[in-house]
């Protein structure tokens, strides 16, 4: 299991950029971490590594933010506000899975729709820094 320990926002952004380089179209990535852990910061690092001018706001309100990156389309999702897993159909997420890269905050809201082989990024607080663990990334070179 790969582990990283970003100590500040700049290191979290850099880690996001690095993880983005290992992703391929069709990947579904569950992004787990408590409120304030840095989930959106990591997503911002991923996007801004290839589109430096892109604004990457929290997807809490819109549920889904889409970015056309050079290698793939990224859907950055925050499913906290979903009431039922089937609502994922109505925001177009189910259709996009397996085609676009779906980076999903609050993946538990997907219930049975979350693919068994989803890659996991798990962010935990440790002191002032964070521990970021990757699971299910197989032989992806990060």
């Amino acid at each position: 299991m790969d582990q990283f320990t970003p100590q500040n926002e700049a290191e979290m952004l850099a880690l996001g950029a690095r993880l983005g380089g290992a992703l391929e179209a069709g990947d579904t990535v569950a992004l787990i971490g408590d409120l304030g852990a840095g989930k959106t910061t990591l997503a911002r690092g991923l996007v801004q590594a290839v589109l430096p001018q892109e604004v990457v706001p929290s997807p809490t309100y819109t549920l889904v933010q889409a970015y056309d990156l050079p290698e793939f389309t990224l859907l950055h999702c925050d499913l906290y506000r979903l009431e039922h897993p089937d609502e994922a159909y109505e925001i177009g997420l189910i259709d996009a899975m397996g085609e676009d890269v779906c980076l999903i905050e609050w993946p538990d809201r997907l219930g049975p729709h979350l693919p068994q082989d989803a890659m996991i990024i798990d962010i935990k607080f440790e002191g002032d820094g964070r521990v970021v663990s990757l699971r299910g990334w197989g032989n992806r070179h990060v």
Partner: protein
Amino acid sequence: MRHAPKPDVKQDEALTVLGLESSCDETAASVLRRYADGRVEILSNIVASQDEEHRPFGGVVPEIAARAHMRKIEPILAKAVKSSGVSWDDLDGIAATAGPGLIGGVITGLMSAKGLAMALNKPLIAVNHLEGHALSPRLTEDCAFPYLLLLVSGGHSQLLSVTGLGEYERLGSTVDDAAGEAFDKTAKVMGLGFPGGPKVQSWAERGNPKAIKFPRPMKGRDHADFSFAGLKTAVARAWDASDKTDTAKADIAASFQRAMTDTMLDRVGRAITLYRNATGDTGRARLVVAGGVAANTELRAGLKTMAATRNFDFIAPPLKFCGDNAAMIALAGAERLAAGITDGYDAPARPRWPLDKDAAANAPKSGHGKKGPKS
């Protein structure tokens, strides 16, 4: 496909417009009459608020599901027209929010408006939700262009220079979370309930705003952008480290609210300078606040003081027009109609739709990102 009729506008006549709003969690409809001199009469204003239903979730339950808006929109439309005292035939146009927002809701409102416009043979106006907020002070105040607008809500935080209808320049915006989101998440972390803004405010009244030294993100920067994610994180850490008593809740709420107010005032102060430079206007000017966070009394008080010291009049819409509502959409529709601007029946729903022209020129016109309408 049939073409939408062009407006037959006589400038000395009043325009009566039905507006629909369904871009987030409210389903709303309003009928208003706008006179050629800019006076506005709100004939009806119906909002199906879902605050009561949200409580168990500690956050906003989204009407992402188009069916929830669909269930409500027809009775609300009928009620808005019936209680306005005008007939369907008296309407001069049908306006609906066409974005930005949650796609399911936007499509429901826009399609309903298109259906009505076709059936009644009336012009359709596809309104940018943010333009509705930007014009909302003109619902109740004689608020002439230009003005500086602070728009702070659950989904948006922007400072805009408003120089005319359709003329908006973004002086600053959030790089991460919206201001309202910071309030909602603070309330959620401490289990204060929903809606977060009023809950945080009422706990803050009992607390010490200097108890905890929270960061003031972006304070002192040359630009007028906001950032609230770091503040949210700091609140989560402070709550974890606290003894979780009511005193802790009140102190964190008060300190958080003070940090939010300080930060927003600093950014508005910066925007005032940018606004003065951009417009060359050194005389008496107007500062307007809109959006749900505009209901916060500490922010309002701070803005009022700042406006006075910087030679601005301070204008805040009544609370019922701060949050999402359909009257502001009807007004934006009426102002566009009066200017001869209408949309075809093929007007697209736009989940992302920046208000300022420069950004809008580069923005995708439909669907996700820059992909086609089928994505």
